[in-house]
């Protein structure tokens, strides 16, 4: 038995919000997207890219096919490159990821034993046709290591250190081959 006072209380709450939305800065939470943007978060992930160290012809990827096998919706297609004699090379000839199928899970990044594939921050990926322009080929996926440093500095530094340590260890165990 509040004699209708609860109604007044409720209405005062909404009125307060209404007035504050004009007077108090920051009380409206909407981000006006194309003009305003949220700050980029390092851990944000959307769609994978392939990383190369020096030149795009020599990507880190060795075409081991692990990511393609682990990818839950099976959207990665990898064909190993071969030389003239037909021997397998340690790089992919075809590396396609279908954006329309990818579910941005990031499992490919997690399973890759060669730290070759990473999740990108780019999210404005819409296109006018849904077949060819959404099937990302190797050329479109390849990005330099410096780009990774730009979007994910912490991760990139850690990975660089790890790769370097690996390299050193390799040198120590097989001194003859690298000399």
């Amino acid at each position: 038995m509040s004699y209708g006072l609860g109604i007044l209380k409720g209405m005062s709450v909404t009125l307060k919000q209404f007035v504050e939305s004009y007077t108090k800065k920051g009380s409206i939470v909407t981000v006006q997207y194309p003009e305003e943007r949220r700050e980029d978060v390092e851990r944000f992930r959307n769609f994978p890219i392939l990383v190369y160290d020096e030149k795009p012809e020599a990507p880190r990827c060795v075409a081991c096919d692990i990511c393609a096998k682990e990818c839950p919706p099976k959207c990665i297609t990898i064909v190993r490159d071969r030389d003239e004699q037909g021997r397998g090379l340690q790089k992919p000839k075809v590396f396609d990821i279908d954006l329309s199928v990818c579910m941005s899970c990031g499992i490919c990044e997690e399973v890759c034993p060669f730290d070759a594939i990473f999740m990108d921050h780019q999210f404005e990926l819409s296109a006018y046709d849904r077949m060819e322009s959404l099937n990302y080929h190797q050329e479109k996926l390849l990005k330099p290591n410096s780009y990774l440093h730009q979007i994910r500095p912490t991760d990139a530094t850690q990975i660089d250190a790890k790769l370097k340590a690996k390299e050193e260890a390799k040198k120590k165990t097989q001194p003859g081959t690298t000399a």
């Binding site: 209708g4 409720g10 209405m11 709450v13 909404t14 209404f18 939305s21 409206i28 939470v29």
Partner: protein
């Protein structure tokens, strides 16, 4: 000042004088009617369009959003964009529907809500049709809308539509009773059903002698306003179209412009009822300083804003709460309000004020106590199951 006050009346006069030069005399009354109709026919859809804009804007702000702000500055062209969208949409008629009734329902729902505008006194000498029974006309015509809603719900051949229509019927008939009871007090005091006369009866005190400042007027205003929110199916009384329960209620099967017509009827109804509440209890166009039509617009706007505000604040009633609120609270309150108005009319001033206030206060407290709030949960026992 006088000129400004009579701006629209003068405008009409000028048009008529201009027409006199080439039209035969017997046609002039028809032209006069036509001018008023045109004014209403332009004013009503415009009101509806910008009420939708206002509603989205205000509710958005209450929920810490911007509301429409993309089409035009402050989203002012949004209603036009919506109109184009509605017009170009496919018009679907369900296979099993009663085609003729299905088609007629949206028309039948808009026409009465447009007719309501004819008896509203928009300003001094600005009632389109000054009927002697204006108030009766208003109440009678506004209940035709209920029938149209039932037509729509029935003709759609859809269980959600039918359920919505049934709910609409039950709700509107229940709330019509306290609505009329609250209006009766005004008729008792003024002694006339003409809207012009009712406004004139509230003149004095520098234009502030509104009925809402009397005890019976205040209670009558509250009752009228609550019931009118219910009559136009707006939140918290929107069970006929409760989205979370029955899709969209009676207009589930409507699309495109027909759907927009139902919406239009709702908004026009909201405006007309607010205007009527302003006429009956807030002194209509009476008010100091400002021109009469501006006063009227201002009062109506405040009431419409309150309706939107209510929608931004409250969840929907449950069906049983809705019914018991109408029959167990509003109805007896309306009856005791009539008693208070009668006593007010027959006793000299200070006594009448004291008596009326006490009667209303006691019945308000008594009825609040008799209507327990909150749910009392009891253990449910089954006799036959188990």
């Amino acid at each position: 000042m006088e000129r400004l006050d009579q701006l629209f009346v003068l405008l009409k006069k000028i048009i008529l004088q201009f027409a006199e030069s080439f039209l035969p005399a017997p046609l002039l009354p028809f032209l006069s009617i036509l001018v008023s109709i045109t004014a209403i026919a332009i004013f009503a859809p415009l009101t509806m369009m910008y009420l939708t804009w206002l509603e989205r804007k205000v509710i958005g702000r209450m929920q810490n959003r911007f509301g429409p702000n993309r089409v035009g500055i402050y989203g002012l062209l949004q209603p036009i964009a919506d109109g184009i969208k509605m017009l170009t949409k496919e018009d679907v008629i369900p296979l099993g529907a009663d085609r003729v009734t299905h088609f007629l329902a949206p028309v039948a729902v808009v026409v009465p809500s447009l007719l309501l505008f004819s008896v509203l006194p928009f300003g001094r000498n600005m009632t389109a049709v000054n009927l002697d029974i204006g108030l009766l006309f208003f109440i009678a015509v506004s209940s035709i809308g209920t029938l149209a809603i039932f037509m729509g719900g029935w003709a759609s051949r859809n269980k959600f539509s039918l359920l919505g229509a049934m709910r609409a019927f039950a709700q509107m008939i229940s709330y019509e009773v306290p609505l009329v009871l609250s209006v009766v007090t005004v008729v008792m005091i003024v002694g006339s059903l003409s809207t012009e006369k009712i406004v004139e009866a509230q003149s004095g005190w520098g234009g502030l002698r509104w009925f809402v400042f009397t005890p019976w007027g205040f209670v009558g205003f509250m009752l009228f306003f609550i019931c009118s929110v219910s009559e136009v199916n707006r939140t918290p009384f929107d069970i006929p179209e409760g989205e979370s329960e029955i899709v969209a209620g009676f207009h589930t099967e409507y699309s495109g412009m027909k759907f927009a017509l139902f919406y239009m009827a709702e908004f026009l109804g909201a405006f007309a009822y607010s205007a009527m509440a302003a006429t009956l209890f807030l002194g209509g166009w009476q008010g100091p300083l400002l021109p009469s039509w501006l006063w009227f617009g201002l009062k109506t706007f405040c009431l419409v804003f309150t309706m939107i505000w209510l929608r931004g604040t409250f969840p929907r009633f449950r069906v049983d709460q809705l019914m018991s609120y109408a029959w167990k609270f509003l109805f007896p309150m309306g009856l005791s309000n009539i008693l208070a108005a009668g006593i007010w009319y027959h006793t000299p001033f200070p006594l009448s004020f004291i008596f009326a206030t006490w009667i209303l206060l006691l019945s308000f407290i008594g009825l609040s106590r008799l209507n327990p709030t909150g749910t009392r949960l009891e253990r449910r026992t089954y006799r036959f199951a188990e």
